[in-house]
Amino acid sequence: MHVPDGFLDAPTSVATGVIAVAGVALALRGARRELDDRTAPMAGLVATFVFAGQMMNFPVGAGTSGHLLGGALAAVLVGPWTAVLCLSTVLLVQALFMADGGITAIGTNVTLMGLVGVGVGWLVFAGVRAILPRRLGLVAPAAAVGALVSVLAAAAVFTLLFAVGGTAPIATEKVLVAMLSWHTVIGLGEALITGLVVSSVIAARPDLVYGARPAMGKRTLELRRSADTVEAGETT
């Protein structure tokens, strides 16, 4: 999904650069509410994990591969604003040091994978959570649905940018159909990885998963109460 230099013209790249800067500025404000002494170290590790996950291309058939984008994953683990900063850090390091994604396309890639990937991933996750019962076991499946839709949304927005500022004259429908069909398969991989990672972290420490907090509220109270009961039983 990393857009290289040259696919989009200069005005479009400047426009996505402005959108990316505005989005990151908002995220810097929003992330303060999500990060504290306990979650800030986790957020750095989630960014590192996303970087690693993006190196792990999996085959999707017909000589094509896909890799984790990680927007929905990061949003569910550490919160959407922090996730935007995680993805932006990853994309910046990739563009500057790995030559993965163009330097003039940093704004485009932050917009696609950071803002659209995280935003759509989080909103779909939150929407699915809202219609399902508040059970811890449903957090990972909801994250997986968010992951699938986030990849499709990023693919669709790339097509939109290409229609506006693509440097080659290719019919938009042709690009859209090809982008969505490949990214449906890639999105299924994204959903699988996101679901597995979220459920593993929930099994270890559900209290450290941002998107699991609504489902945790009730449980934490129950745990505390039972701990009180045990203590009371011991003292008598």
Partner: protein, 114 residues
Amino acid sequence: MSLLSRHRLAAAVLLSALLIAGVASFYASSHPDGLNKVAQQTGFAKSEQRSAAADGPFAGYATKGVQNPRLSRGVAGISGAALVLVIGSGLFWVIRRRPARDADSAASSVSKGS
């Protein structure tokens, strides 16, 4: 219920990231990804231009001067992961919410209304 300590969970996440970036990614598919495939299929792959960072020490996830392909990708992957860890952790630590220690900071966080 056996909960992992925060430090053990952190160690587990870090170790898996380093193993994926440093070791497993050697076995990643080298086929073009979805976007590059679409570019080839529909005909805009030619418009790609060389990145100004293409001569960097880890460009293309290969370490300059390291002949062994496994080692070359492993070193690049670990280096990139370390860069993300340092930049990301530094940023998140700086912007994190701090517990109000005095009346001043408590007042300023109240006035912000969050």
